[in-house]
């Protein structure tokens, strides 16, 4: 059975964020809520699971170090947190001096847990194809796909993070999804 991962709203988020500076339990709630989205965003941008884990750690270290400086009047917390993730990725690519760093072999070797073995295998095949198809997109397209579908951000927040206009964000996302779909069609993967 296909699992659905709704981008849930963290109830009482502002209170949790404020308390996170000095309350480990509050920070744990923030961590549990955002880890899947941060990790997924990073995985959409780079395929290597080891690098993705390392970068996820780096992002959360920065969040922990700076969470006291977050100001609600400057924008939503999700925008702040994904700005850190986005900037961390930008630094990573600057150091790596490469925009495509997905190892197709690594993508294929990833283990998949949960569900029945048959479901898990189908799910794994599907996600592997999507991750592979993602490598044909430009880094900017992967960034926007990640910010939209992994982070679950509005075009307005994505516009603030990337510096693109909202119209541009919409067009790039739509074209990137069409391109991704076309790559999946070439690979013989039906999404419907």
């Amino acid at each position: 059975m296909q699992q659905t991962h709704k981008v849930a709203i963290l109830s009482n988020e502002q209170d949790l964020v404020t308390r996170s500076v000095c309350d480990p339990a509050a920070f744990a709630d923030v961590y549990d809520h955002y880890l899947p989205r941060i990790y997924k965003y990073i995985r959409y941008r780079i395929g290597d699971p080891c690098d993705a884990e390392d970068l996820t750690s780096r992002v959360f270290e920065l969040i922990l170090a700076n969470i006291g400086s977050y100001r609600q009047d400057k924008g939503p917390f999700s925008g702040w947190i994904f700005t850190i993730a986005h900037n961390t990725m930008t630094d990573y690519f600057r150091v790596q001096k490469r925009s495509i760093c997905v190892s197709l072999e690594l993508v294929g070797e990833i283990a998949c847990a949960g569900n029945s073995p048959a479901d898990a295998m189908l799910q794994r095949e599907k996600r592997d194809r999507v991750l592979k198809a993602m490598t044909f997109l430009s880094d900017r397209e992967r960034d926007l796909i990640g910010l939209k579908f992994a982070a679950g951000l509005t075009n307005g927040t994505i516009s603030e993070i990337t510096g693109l206009t909202k119209s541009n964000v919409a067009v790039i996302i739509y074209r990137a999804v069409r391109r991704l779909r076309s790559e999946l069609c070439v690979a013989g993967c039906e999404m419907r």
Binding site: Q3, T4, K6, V7, L35, P36, P49, F60, A170, Y174
Partner: protein
């Protein structure tokens, strides 16, 4: 005929609905191409896909961050002080050798390399004196 810009705007609005509820039904309004509906289904799949089960550091990272925060709250991790890794770097890898070598008077947990001049800044006595 809807132009690309309008289609892109509509696509993102539909995507926002799917993000809020991955099972939301998207109603086909007006003259949208078949390709649009297929792209919506792909967007639904991207939203629904969970990758977190592949993240092997979830618990370990959680524990490390919470320990760090607890240390900071307890005053052990003031921003002016060096963390364990930085101390190791400063001590050129001798961090493990001095581990556990605390001030015997006040028990402040400062390592030898962190106490300048051999005087403990917490109790003011020569380090190691009884």
């Amino acid at each position: 005929m809807i132009n690309d810009q309008e289609l892109a705007e509509r696509f993102c609005l539909d995507a926002d609905r799917i993000i809020q509820d991955p099972s939301a039904e998207i109603i086909r309004v007006g003259d949208v191409p078949e390709e649009y509906i297929e792209s919506i289904e792909l967007a639904r799949s991207l939203v629904s896909e969970g990758l977190i089960d592949q993240c092997g550091i979830r618990d370990q990272l959680r524990r490390r961050l919470l320990e760090k925060l607890a240390g900071r709250i307890g005053g052990l991790g003031d921003s002016d002080e060096l963390d364990d890794y930085q101390l190791d770097m400063v001590a050129a890898g001798t961090g493990s050798e001095v581990q556990g070598d605390n001030c015997s008077v006040c028990g402040c947990s400062r390592s030898a390399s962190a106490i300048k001049g051999g005087i403990c800044p917490d109790c003011g006595r020569p380090r190691g004196s009884v």
